[in-house]
């Protein structure tokens, strides 16, 4: 019996104008945008590749170790074509030095693009689905029950010994089958475009991630279909149902996400927590500075000038840069000379001793400061951002967006994976310095007796986390969507069972 019902519903849905229109619009939008998105991705990849090469060349040209601030680039994520998330916006170039544990807030933007173009809006495939699929689901659902009630066919069907639950199920299954056609076909075309692009190579894991995105899209589609069905079950006339469905669509997709972000207060004033953390970090560095001055005072070559009156072709500086908003505070110093005059030869051992003391101490202090900073950043900046994200999730659009970002690896956690790898790499670089005995060496600050050796410095490589990690991150939101589905279906069932025909 249920198969007959499904068959009837399928025919009813497939042969309609709305189906054709839905298919056409989705295909058109997805294909047109995928082409552009792939092009943008390729541009970013190219600029990444040039940047990696430049940075590699730059570090090889550094003559002293102290001048060697290694720069690392973040590769663009190919799945950002589906959901761009934070992939494009957060910095993609970061320096690694012994005096700071790097975070994403220190990352810079590779400056080959025109930043003014950011004022124009941009979209990704998931955004198209967010808007179009939800609209289609509602358009398929609004007259499912109300329409039949109006035409009287519902009464006719119920005169047969059919369970009401079966009718609902048949309607649900057939409509979902129909809705899947535009979704899967457009995704297929997008995949076709992706796989035929030479510069994009998708791994097995990537296909797993895309599978996750498809799954989430189906759950999202189903939520909106069920919302439409619920409206259809509670209203008597199709006109009213359509109007209500439209209103709810506008409210959930357009109004709520914008309204909620505008309504919550966002202040630029650092919270008390951030201020106290900043002061703590500053104290740690002040302590370091005291030790440093003490060392200089007790040194056999007295005086406070850390350059030991050495002069030559090159430059030196020392300062404490700070940024209260991102809790950045550190000791930055550099001394690098191409050649040294004979007359400074006497001071060189002092300088060597000094740096042998200074650099390990800086590293230790940076680690201590990092412990405080890590927690404080989490408590202030990350938590604030996550509150906003949670609020967005009160609309299915927010859940869908969050889940697909997690699948694509363009969410905050995915981007932070990169910075975790960068922090790990910093330790490698420091180990490399130690293995070369760089801090105690003359090559730390002067290039006259042999230049720094960068040939065996391990290269940085970053691999995105495995698909199982993406799945773990996406699961909460996916489950929320599924629960919502179940919940809606139960309500519809109850309403429909009790309703008079």
């Amino acid at each position: 019996m249920i198969t007959t019902l499904i068959g009837r519903e399928l025919l009813n849905n497939l042969m309609t104008f709305r189906f054709a229109a839905a298919l056409l619009i989705t295909l058109l939008l997805v294909v047109a945008n995928t082409v552009v998105l792939i092009q943008h991705y390729e541009q970013r990849l190219e600029s990444y590749n040039t940047s990696v090469q430049t940075h590699h060349k730059e570090i090889q040209e550094k003559q002293t170790y102290s001048a060697g601030e290694v720069e690392v680039d973040r590769p663009p994520n190919p799945l950002s074509i589906f959901n761009v998330g934070l992939d494009k916006r957060l910095g993609n170039e970061i320096w690694i030095a012994h005096n700071n544990v790097p975070t994403l807030w220190e990352a810079r933007m590779n400056a080959s693009d025109n930043p003014y173009l950011n004022i124009l809006s941009s979209i990704d495939i998931i955004f198209i689905f967010e808007v179009v699929l939800s609209l289609m689901a509602l358009l398929f659902a609004y007259d499912a029950l109300a329409g039949e009630r109006e035409q009287g066919t519902l009464r006719l069907v119920l005169t047969h010994p059919v369970r009401r639950g079966h009718i609902l199920l048949a309607k649900y299954i057939s409509a979902m089958l129909c809705l899947l056609v535009p979704l899967l076909m457009s995704l297929l075309l997008a995949m076709l475009l992706l796989t035929t692009t030479v510069s994009i190579s998708l791994s097995a894991d990537d296909f797993g991630r895309i599978g996750g995105i498809v799954l989430t899209s189906i759950a999202y589609l189903s939520v909106f279909y069920l919302i439409g069905l619920l409206i259809s079950a509670v209203t008597q006339r199709t006109g009213t149902a359509l109007m209500l469905a439209m209103f709810i669509w506008g409210a959930l997709v357009l109004v709520y996400p914008n309204l909620i972000l505008a309504a919550i207060r966002s202040s630029d004033i650092p919270q008390a927590k951030a201020v106290s953390a900043f002061n703590q970090i500053k104290q740690v560095w002040d302590e370091f500075d005291r030790e440093r001055k003490q060392y200089l005072a007790t040194d056999a070559f007295p005086g406070e000038d850390p350059t030991f009156n050495i002069n030559g072709m090159g430059f030196f500086y020392e300062h404490f840069p700070e940024n209260r908003l991102t809790l950045l505070y550190l000791y930055n110093s550099m001394m690098t000379f191409g050649e040294l005059d004979e007359k400074f030869e006497r001071e060189v051992p002092h300088a060597q001793n000094y740096f042998q003391f200074l650099i390990p101490s800086t590293i230790k202090t940076a680690e201590r400061a990092w412990l405080i900073r890590k927690q404080a950043l989490e408590d202030t900046l990350v938590r604030k951002a996550n509150t906003k994200r949670t609020l967005l999730k009160f609309s299915p659009v927010g859940m869908y967006d969050a889940a697909t970002q997690a699948w694509a690896g363009t969410d905050l956690k995915g981007v932070r994976d990169f910075f975790d790898a960068v922090r790990q790499y910093r330790l490698t670089v420091i180990d490399y310095f130690y293995s070369k005995n760089a801090f105690a060496s003359r090559k730390w600050f002067a290039a006259d007796e042999g230049t720094a050796d960068w040939s065996t410095l391990p290269a940085f490589s970053f691999k995105r986390s495995g698909v199982e990690i993406n799945a773990k991150r996406a699961l909460p939101d996916l489950l929320l969507l599924l629960t919502m589905n179940l919940f809606l279906f139960m309500i519809i069932f109850l309403v429909f069972i009790k309703s008079e025909v």
Binding site: V36, R89, W105, S112, D113, P115, Y116, I119
Partner: protein, 473 residues
């Protein structure tokens, strides 16, 4: 005709959609007002502080001497925040709000770090903000441009999709046409009825919004601002009538109201939601971005050239000639720097202009640009600000030259300490920078877009007329 309009309005007033629309618009407009009241005073305060600081710089330099003023220039310039920021945000958070007065370049120092060769200031244009420190979700704006562009247009379709199709289904259309009413009267009556019944909740929401904003004593609206608000309100009506006409057109052609709504919605989604962003992405990938390095490469040889020229002049025997060579070197260097910066900005601007022109096919973008233009925010406003600073810079340089000419003790060699007046000047005499908005200029830049929008409305209205006249009832 008036009867039809009145009937339409009465019909709509009692409907569910009218109530929902009112609630929705009120909620949006109140949020908009509250947000503006919360943020605008802060914005104004930051601006005032910054302006005071740069004025202090100017005063200090003028008090010191004319030469110091000529060398260091005024303080940085800041963009005045628009009091109509709530009408259109215009991506203000991404645009820079300042034009910087660059430090005089130092060409040579001696062993003790004393500056031997020190040039004069030049304008420099900071890059757009990157927003790359923000780990939160994308910030969206509930400004008037969003409310009108997205919500109001959707509402217009919502009110008109069943204008003819619904009546045809009920059979009342045939009844109405049985009376001796010409069809165009029916059409115009319907059009006015729908437009007015949308205007009622919208006007109400706008009224509440403006009441909240104007009664707060932290925000002040000038008469000109009210004039601009009036223009924006009429723009909203024009834009709404576009969608009302579209709704009538489709409704007249289609037999069922449900199908009519579907077509309308799909059209709306394509034109309002997707068209602007897709076209923008396409347009921005047209022209390749030029990297900073490339621009930098263009700059270096010029400077070397200047340096060579100066070296020749430096060895001259006459003191006067030496000074003149120095002055020429300084001013040319500043000019070249400024021109280089300006070219870079122009290149980027033309990229954005091209993209904006292409997105103008979508009426939603047209409206966005128009509201931005009249609210004094967004990209065009930024360019106007940049132009203002450039004009002021010329004015200030003329002032310096004139004042120097008036001093008999000066050698009138600009940009060099030894060749210029060293007398302090009264800060009051120095021209002040004023970042002004010009309504007639805004009209000029908006004229094309305004025309296009009106054209859209007329085409759709005549389309609706043709469709309705020829349709069988």
């Amino acid at each position: 005709m008036w009867h039809i309009t009145k009937r339409e309005i009465y019909d709509n007033l009692n409907s569910l959609r009218f109530a929902l629309t009112t609630v929705l618009l009120l909620a949006l407009m109140v949020t908009n007002a509250v947000k503006h009241l919360r943020e605008h005073p802060k914005r104004v305060q930051t601006y005032r502080d910054a302006v005071t600081e740069s004025l202090n710089h100017l005063t200090d330099r003028a008090d010191d001497s004319l030469y110091t003023l000529a060398q260091y220039g005024p303080g940085n310039f800041y963009k005045k925040p628009s009091s109509l920021h709530f009408c259109a945000n215009g991506g203000e958070s991404l645009l820079p709000d300042t034009v910087e007065v660059g430090e005089p370049p130092v060409f040579m120092t001696d062993a003790e770090g004393n500056r031997l060769l020190e040039g004069i200031w030049s304008l420099s244009y900071p890059d757009a903000n990157l927003n790359n420190k923000n780990v939160g979700p994308n910030v969206s704006q509930v400004d008037w441009a969003f409310i009108i562009g997205y919500i109001l247009s959707l509402i217009a379709l919502w009110f008109t999709f069943d204008a003819f199709a619904g009546e045809r289904e009920q059979g009342t259309l045939r009844l109405m046409l049985a009376n001796s009413i010409p069809r165009h009267t029916v059409l115009i009556g319907k059009f006015l009825g729908a437009l007015l019944s949308i205007s009622i909740p919208f006007a109400l929401a706008v009224l509440v919004n403006l009441l909240l904003i104007s009664t707060a004593n932290t925000v002040h609206l000038t008469t000109e601002a009210w004039g601009r608000l009036g223009i924006i309100f009429s723009l909203a009506l024009l834009y709404t009538s576009l969608f009302v006409a579209l709704g009538l057109l489709v409704s007249a052609r289609v037999q069922q109201s449900a199908v009519s709504l579907m077509i309308l919605l799909l059209t709306w989604v394509t034109f309002v939601v997707f068209m602007p962003s897709t076209l923008a992405s396409i347009a921005s990938s047209f022209s390749p971005a030029t990297s900073f390095d490339e621009f930098w490469k263009q700059r270096n040889p010029i400077q070397e050239n200047l340096w060579e020229k100066y070296k020749e002049g430096r060895s001259s025997k006459s003191e006067d000639k030496r000074l003149r060579a120095k002055s020429e070197f300084y001013t040319e260097n500043a000019e070249r720097d400024e021109r280089w910066q300006e070219e870079r900005l122009k290149y980027r601007t033309s990229q954005v202009h091209r993209a904006r022109a292409i997105t103008g096919i979508s009426p939603a973008t047209l409206l966005q640009h128009l509201i931005e233009g009249f609210a004094g925010t967004g990209f065009e406003r930024h360019l106007q600000f940049v132009e203002n600073t450039q004009r002021y810079t010329r004015q200030l340089r003329e002032f310096v030259a004139d004042t120097d000419r008036a001093d008999p003790e000066s050698l009138h060699i600009l940009g060099v300490r030894e060749g210029m007046s060293k007398k302090p000047i009264s800060p009051e005499a120095v021209p002040r920078f004023e970042d002004t908005l010009n309504l007639s200029r805004d009209f000029n830049t908006a004229a094309m877009e305004l025309l296009l929008l009106t054209l859209f409305v007329l085409v759709l209205l005549s389309g609706a007329y043709l469709a309705f006249v020829r349709v069988e009832v």
